[in-house]
């Protein structure tokens, strides 16, 4: 079996500027933050980011790495408005494709199923249609004749996701209550990098949880990165909850100061700074 393990920096080295990048998780929940931090250490920029947005988007937007964002929201959940995202958006720092949460889901499914679009009963009447003049519609060929929005496939060059456990060949396991959309992100992207709290032997996976926790299948995975506390400061149930105190600090610290204080060094330096609360 191919060993797909690699350090975060190597996974990021396989990405390049200008790519369309999907990021898993939801809001401030199970975000692949160690991979995002590696991305911030790299010079990669000019990205199209596809995400149910949280601090992944906030940080990349603050650092000027986003050319275009595809999303339905950006939030820190316990802090409803993501301050660094807001600031970037209010200074017109990037282009936005704003679609509904369900349109986003069906766009992912279309991409994962190699379909150009999927019909959705959402968007009509709302300004999603005004701000996305490229959206087309499709009419049912059956008797009902209803017209739907044809949500285009959200195909991506690469996906970044974080799960609780994975084996070396890329089988990824979530142990919390919600898979979010991470398997779909991996299937909708040409390459996918899965970070995890711990790499375990394949036989260990079904000892950790029932088979339906085996969310991500290895054929959709390019690289596996072991990143303990790698979703920090977002939640990664049941391994840890959201670090609310740190999130608050992130939200209330001016970006240059946060960047200098926590992101100037490597992942070990970050984790040490978090532990020491410096």
């Amino acid at each position: 079996m191919k060993d797909k393990t690699m350090p975060a920096d190597e996974a990021v080295a396989r990405l390049s500027s200008g790519m369309t990048l999907g990021i898993g998780g939801w809001g401030s929940r199970r975000k692949p933050m160690a991979l995002v931090r590696a991305l911030l250490r790299s010079g990669i920029t000019d990205l199209t980011v596809v995400s149910y947005g949280g601090p992944d988007v906030g940080m990349l937007a603050a650092a000027g790495r986003i050319r275009k964002l595809v999303t339905a929201f950006v939030t820190l959940d316990s802090i409803p408005l993501e301050p660094h995202y807001r600031a970037a958006r209010e200074r017109g720092a990037f282009e936005l494709t704003e679609i509904d949460e369900a349109m986003f889901l069906w766009g992912l499914r279309a991409a994962a199923n190699r379909l150009p679009f999927l019909p959705v009963r959402a968007g009509f009447g709302s300004d999603v249609m005004r701000v996305n003049p490229g959206l087309r519609t499709v009419t049912s060929p059956y008797e009902d004749g209803e017209t739907f929005v044809a949500v285009p496939a959200l195909r991506m060059d690469a996906a970044l996701v974080h799960v609780n456990r994975a084996d070396r060949s890329g089988n990824g396991q979530y142990l919390g209550p919600d898979p979010y959309f991470d398997d779909l992100f991996c299937a909708a992207a040409d390459t996918a990098y899965v970070s995890c709290e711990r790499i375990v032997d394949t036989a260990e996976l079904t000892k950790q949880g029932p088979p339906q926790t085996l969310l991500i299948r290895r054929h959709t995975v390019t690289g596996v990165v072991e990143a303990p506390n790698g979703a920090h400061f977002t939640s990664c149930a049941p391994d840890y909850g959201r670090d609310e105190a740190f999130q608050k600090r992130y939200a209330t610290t001016p970006w240059p100061e946060f960047e200098a204080g926590f992101l100037a060094g490597d992942e070990q330096t970050y984790q040490r700074a978090v532990r020491e609360g410096t």
Binding site: W26, G53, T71, A72, F73, V74, T75, P80, L81, Y85, R86, R89, E90, G92, E98, I99, D100, E101, A102, M103, L105, V120, R121, A122, G123, F124, G125, S126, D127, V128, R130, V131, E146, G176, P177, D178, P179, Y180, F181, L184
Partner: protein
């Protein structure tokens, strides 16, 4: 027991949104709608389904009875067996709602949450709204970005319905010939003038405006002792 506070009238007005809904998912967003949904579930709407705000369907005491991760929640919306109560940064007289941004979308003056699920919600299942601070900044002539779809933009949307809008001043519906907003009830202690003053558009006001109904003693007890013993409701709407 002391008389009901304004926040408690708001709880009752929110709870009433789910009366007679049957076996559907109640999706309250915000604190007082959440208290209202749990109260409805505990009293006159025992068939309601509730979530823990994450991925579980739960009984009022927190006992899990089902699994509802976000992907399934989004699919459930399209099945229609759900009644959501969303917030609104802006709402207009036809019930168009905005939670995305203030100002020009291209370069907003204030970026807010984003459209979230408002477009799919309003086209697929009943969508009510909760506004904890009724003002002209929220009840506007025109919203800056239509997220939730109002009646004037819902032609042909077969599953579109906005049962009610609840604010800290009263309850509103769209039971008018042109489906524009109407004052349906006033919370005790609030005057029609107060509501008009705080609303940035022409509101239909019937000759006789009823008062929002009183909570029963049992409802008051449940709110105060079971659902919200810490009194968090008073932080959303002051007494």
């Amino acid at each position: 027991m002391t008389g009901p506070t304004r926040a408690e009238y708001c709880v009752i007005a929110c709870a009433e949104a789910w009366r007679d809904d049957g076996e559907v998912l109640a999706s309250p967003m915000g604190l007082i709608p959440s208290i209202g949904a749990r109260l409805a579930r505990l009293t006159f709407a025992p068939e309601l389904l509730l979530t823990d705000g994450e991925a579980l369907l739960v009984r009022p005491d927190g006992t899990p009875e089902g699994w509802l991760p976000y992907r399934e929640h989004l699919a459930w919306v399209t099945g229609g067996r759900r009644h959501v109560m969303m917030g609104a940064s802006q709402i207009d007289r036809f019930g168009n709602q905005n939670i995305a941004c203030i100002g020009d979308w291209e370069r907003p003056r204030r970026q807010l949450l984003g459209v979230r699920g408002a477009p799919v919600n309003t086209l697929n299942n009943p969508t009510s709204y909760w506004i904890p601070r009724h003002s002209r900044r929220v009840f506007v002539d025109r919203v800056d970005m239509v997220c939730g779809v109002g009646y004037d933009r819902a032609a042909g949307a077969r599953y579109h319905r906005i049962p009610r809008v609840v604010s800290d001043l009263g309850v509103f519906d769209f039971a008018t010939p042109d489906r524009s907003m109407r004052l349906a009830s006033l919370h005790p202690g609030v005057t029609v003038e107060q509501v008009k003053e705080a609303t940035g558009f022409e509101l239909t006001v019937p000759d006789e405006v009823p008062a929002t109904r009183e909570p029963t003693d049992e409802e008051l007890r449940l709110i105060r002792e079971v659902v919200d013993p810490a009194g968090a409701r008073a932080r959303e709407v002051a007494a």
